[in-house]
Symmetry: C2
Subunit: 213 residues, 2 copies
DNA sequence: GTCTATAAAAGGATAGAC
DNA sequence: GTCTATCCTTTTATAGAC
C-alpha cells in the first residue's frame, strides 16, 4: 500500500488525489465536516471521492470507522500549530500576544469550527473522539502554556502562583463572544479586526491580573 | 384545547403529563436532547410520549417543526435565570460573584449542555435556532452585565471604559476548561468544588484587570 | 482493488377507521 | 383527536463480476 501510494504520487498530477484511499479520505472529510455524521451518507461520500461505494467499504469497513479515522486525523492536523509556544524568550507581553494570536487564528478557522461542531454533535455517540479532541487541543495548549507561565513566575516577571489555572483562564478569555458566534454559525465572514481587538483585551487583562504586587 | 388542558390538570396525577400535547413535548425533549436531531426518530419520540406517531404528526406536522418548537422553548426556559442581575446594590465583588455563580450553574447544568450540543450539531440545518440561542443566552447576559458595569464605572468603583467588551470577557472567563470538558461530554460528574474555584479565579482576575489606577 | 447491482432495514410521512 | 396499518424514500451494507 505504501509503495502504491508513492508510485501514484510520482505519476499523478498534483490536483488529483494520489490514491483511491486518499480520495476517500478527502471526500469523507468534506462531507462529514460539512454535514455532520448523521446527515452524511455513504453515497455522498463515495460521490465526493469519485469512487464507488463498495470501494469505501473495502477500505474502511463501516461508516463509524470511517468517521473515527477522519476525525482523529483532523484533530492532529488542525490543533498542532495552535499549541506551540514558539520563541519563549523576549518580553512576556509579546510572547503571550503571539501565543494568543496563533490560538485565536487556529480555533476560529472554518476547518476547526466544522471539526468542533461535528465532534460536539456526536459526543454521546463517539465519546472517545471528544476526548481525543480535548487532549490534542485545549488540554495540550493549556499544559504547554502552564509550563511557560511557571518559568515566567520563577523569573519574577509575573506572579503566577497557579500556572495550570492561569493557563486555562488565558485560553478561556480567548474563547470570547466572537468564538461563540462562530461556533453557532452566526458569524460567517472572517473579522480580523475584532479578533485582534479581542487578543489585545485578553492579554492586557491577563497581565493586569498577574502583575507582581 | 385550553379547557381540555385545564381539566386534565385537575384530574390527572402529577406524575403523568396533563395532555397529549404536553406528553409529546416532554417525550420529544427527552429524545431530541438525548440523541440529537439526526439520531432521534419519530418512532422513538412517539414511544417516549406514550402516544402514536400519527398523533405527533397531527400536533406538529413534521420532524423539523417539532424540533424547532422544542428547542425554542428550551432556550427560553433554561437561559432566563442566568441573565438576571439580581440585587445590583452592594459590594461590586459580591455582585459579580453572585452573577458568576448563577451563570456557571446555568451553563453547566446537564439540560443546558444537551441543549447546546443539539443546537451546535445542527447549526447548519437550523441557523435560526442557533441565533435564538445566542440572543437568549450569551448576548442577553452580556448586555445585562454591560449595563451594570456602565453604572459601576460611573460610580467610580471600577474602571470600565468599554462595558460591552468587559462583559463579554467576564463570561468568557467563566466558560473555562471545565465548561469545555462538559460540552465535550468528558466530565460526567458534577464538580461543585471546581466550579466554585473557577468563579473565584475569574472574579478576582476581572477585578484586578479593572481596578482604578 | 474496483465497479454495478441489489439486498435489507430504518425512518419520515400518510390513509382510513373510530 | 387518536390509533393501527401502510407507503415509499433514503441509507447502510453486501454479492458477485471483472
Amino acid at each position: 500500500m505504501a509503495a502504491d501510494t508513492a508510485a501514484a504520487t510520482a505519476l499523478e498530477s498534483e490536483e488529483e488525489p494520489v490514491s483511491k484511499r486518499d480520495a476517500i479520505i478527502a471526500g469523507a472529510t468534506e462531507i462529514f465536516l460539512g454535514a455532520g455524521y448523521g446527515a452524511a451518507s455513504m453515497d455522498a461520500i463515495a460521490q465526493a471521492a469519485g469512487v464507488s461505494k463498495q470501494t469505501v467499504y473495502a477500505h474502511f469497513g463501516a461508516k463509524d470507522t470511517l468517521f473515527e479515522a477522519i476525525i482523529r486525523q483532523k484533530c492532529d492536523d488542525l490543533l498542532a500549530p495552535a499549541v506551540t509556544v514558539g520563541t519563549e524568550d523576549g518580553d512576556v507581553g509579546q510572547v503571550l500576544h503571539d501565543i494568543a494570536e496563533r490560538f485565536v487564528n487556529a480555533i476560529l478557522s472554518p476547518e476547526n469550527m466544522k471539526l468542533f461542531r461535528a465532534i460536539v454533535g456526536e459526543s454521546s455517540r463517539f465519546p472517545e473522539l471528544a476526548d481525543a479532541f480535548y487532549r490534542a487541543g485545549p488540554r495540550l495548549a493549556a499544559d504547554v502554556l502552564a509550563d511557560y507561565l511557571f518559568d515566567v513566575d520563577a523569573k519574577g516577571e509575573l506572579a503566577v502562583p497557579n500556572p495550570k489555572s492561569s493557563a486555562e483562564l488565558f485560553f478561556a478569555m480567548l474563547r470570547n463572544d466572537l468564538y461563540m458566534r462562530r461556533v453557532l454559525g452566526i458569524e460567517r465572514v472572517p473579522c480580523p479586526n475584532e479578533a485582534d481587538t479581542l487578543v489585545g483585551v485578553a492579554v492586557s487583562a491577563f497581565i493586569a491580573a498577574h502583575r507582581k504586587t
